[in-house]
Assembly symmetry: C2
Homo-oligomer: 289 residues x 2
Amino acid sequence: MSVRHLAVIGLGLIGGSFARALRAAGEVGRVSGYDPDPQQRQQALRLGVVDQVYETAEAAVRDADLVVLAVPVLHTGEALRACLPGLRADTVVTDVGSTKQSVLREVEAVCGQLPSWFVPGHPIAGTEKSGVANSLVDLFRNHRVVLTPHAAQSPAARALVAKLWQAVGARVVEMGAAEHDAIFAATSHLPHVIAYSFVDMLARLPHSDDIFPNAGGGFRDFTRIASSSAQMWHDIVRANAGAVGELLDRQIEELQQIRRMMREERWDELRELFARARTARERYLTQIE
Amino acid sequence: MSVRHLAVIGLGLIGGSFARALRAAGEVGRVSGYDPDPQQRQQALRLGVVDQVYETAEAAVRDADLVVLAVPVLHTGEALRACLPGLRADTVVTDVGSTKQSVLREVEAVCGQLPSWFVPGHPIAGTEKSGVANSLVDLFRNHRVVLTPHAAQSPAARALVAKLWQAVGARVVEMGAAEHDAIFAATSHLPHVIAYSFVDMLARLPHSDDIFPNAGGGFRDFTRIASSSAQMWHDIVRANAGAVGELLDRQIEELQQIRRMMREERWDELRELFARARTARERYLTQIE
């Protein structure tokens, strides 16, 4: 057992799944939890995801060896601030946020500097479903976890967090926070913006009631991520607005180019663009988890 | 057995799957096939999808009771023209094209008027994979098939085609060709344009080699349709350019609105848009096949 007492702050899909997986791997003793939503707290308790829940983050983290912040990214600073009075000097704190520069900024703002005991992390796993009721013991198996180390980070703290992710079947990789945010703006944040925007555009059409019943499997997969938590993705897009905005500009420009090809009947160019995209996806497909 | 002799023109995913399914259902006797690509012809023969292949469409359809045109939509007229000399007066011809107004226009141009024996159809099924090697006996089971009847259509021809689709497990619905094209521009054609355009945009980024290996399940599903045949989707977008173009304009406008919300930090509006999209998708989810 690597961690005698784990505290999970934010009892949702990711926090709940990490607690379940660590327990199944025999890596944790006692698991305490906090969520601002009493329903999530009660559900986490009832499902056995945590052993005990508390009405404040401070109480939940008291005497914890490891604290996992599993909250919407823009609430990371606020969550950490609430934990601070309960932390021991040697408590390790990690997070699971989808943006990393904003998390480092918030943590630095709360602590005055980046603390050695904070290990920023991002598991590349999840579903469009939210809440502890949807948490899964094997959510992270064969998935990547990106750690974005900072200069002040303690090697021992980093080693503990990496070991736990490996224990639940994940592959740990490291990269800089800025690099992380640019990459995930492309692979994850922008696709969510596009999927939400596409479904919203269709839903506002006058004949939208005739459209959705005629959707097939391609539509279902293309729009699956538009069923994700609006609060969570609002936070992510806002926290990574620079990188997402830049790519969104490029995406709009590319769609405008396609529209011009259609207007000017440059059909060969359109077919070449489709073929180029198909080749790119097929080439990289084996690298997609 | 409803059809003594079936001829499949275009031995790809859809044509091959329809032949397999009809044979499994005991609805066809002999199956002949034609494809301009000798490899597809040989593969169809080797896989037992067809009993015999021919080097011309005319030879393949000779003495057929039913001809299925399963070619990229912009080749419908050309394929029908090649079949004409081989057709009997009572041969029924149907198609499986994803656009219906362009198919009706092409058939009318080839025949001088819409013939009573032509039954336009569109199975709402498929995968991103192409070719007869990927054809599946149960591809249409529990899927919709849209028929778009025209004024000259023979009720007996329509009844035969509907009966065969039902025999392979599909649900047959009818609507006008213009309505069909507007609906599928929204649920299928535009998503393909967006998915191709998104992957192409990423592939052209200088750091694209770092991007794709970090993609997760959301990315894989969002971009799945970008692995579809470029030729086939070029044809569809070109054949339905009016409806697709109109929706593409709306999509660009919606993305520009989101970009403005981000620039002006109207974050509550962005969250509301995401939440609205999520609600729309969840509401219609049970209607998606």
